[in-house]
Symmetry: C2
Subunit: 150 residues, 2 copies
């Protein structure tokens, strides 16, 4: 078995770390029009040096275009991933927040889970989110049950 359990299907696979960076860069560009190393570092809670390092890899792998001391811009493939992760983030957050969970806990869980969700699972979660947002009766019933079990 060359390289433990081949990824036979999807070709390009990227690590959670790469997804985190692309998500963050995407968010910053959406929000302020540009993404600086210092902000990426702050948002991810890591050092600026680490960010510079990874940005060079992201460039080498074609996710961003990077020029020394200037900013980064995202390529199409980078944007695609960044948006995808941001979408998962939003769906998970809305689903869990609907139940009134502590925002910090929601955030931590979402950060962890968002890298491990296939399209199919995302569809299911989206569906649940929509149903609960559109069906206050049901949500209320479940929240009550939730409270009584804690």
């Amino acid at each position: 078995m060359p390289a433990a359990k081949r990824k036979e299907t999807t070709a390009h696979v990227h690590s959670p770390a790469i997804e985190d960076y692309l998500e963050q860069i995407h968010n910053l560009i959406e929000g302020k029009g540009y993404a600086r190393v210092v902000d990426i570092a702050k948002n991810l809670g890591i050092s600026q040096a680490s960010v510079t390092n990874m940005i060079q890899r992201l460039d080498a792998e074609g996710y961003v275009v990077y020029e020394r001391y200037r900013g980064v811009i995202m390529t199409e493939s980078g944007k695609k991933i960044g948006q995808e992760i941001a979408r998962r983030h939003e769906v998970l957050t809305r689903l869990l927040s609907g139940f009134g969970l502590d925002p910090k806990t929601v955030h931590e869980d979402v950060e962890g889970m968002e890298h491990h969700i296939s399209r199919q699972t995302l569809d299911v979660l989206t569906l649940l989110m929509e149903e609960l947002e559109g069906n206050p009766e049901l949500l209320k019933k479940l929240k009550k049950r939730l409270k009584s079990s804690s």
Copy 2:
């Protein structure tokens, strides 16, 4: 900031890798009464050498008791974690499987997500699972909507 964003609350935190091992050891012991290195390695898709290595760490950190060339047994703290992860695994699996997702996809997603779920989130997911299992009407409605969106 010593060690990037302190874990101020929960003291003992263990890595996803450790959780995987403990879950697997727990499952094997439940199923066949003992856990051999070769089986753990097979189930996790990694080499036996890596397993031996990690088992020594698990012993050092008090999750299992290990004796050279003999098996491992789990300590209370190890059992606790193993059971906890197995529980998360089961809840996630039942929830997603209920929607008829491809079992392989379910398994992959669950393997990834199960390490990032707080107690609160687990409670929510459990609730959803129970509601859907006990409310076939609702499940049916959602599955239909799911199909039409794919």
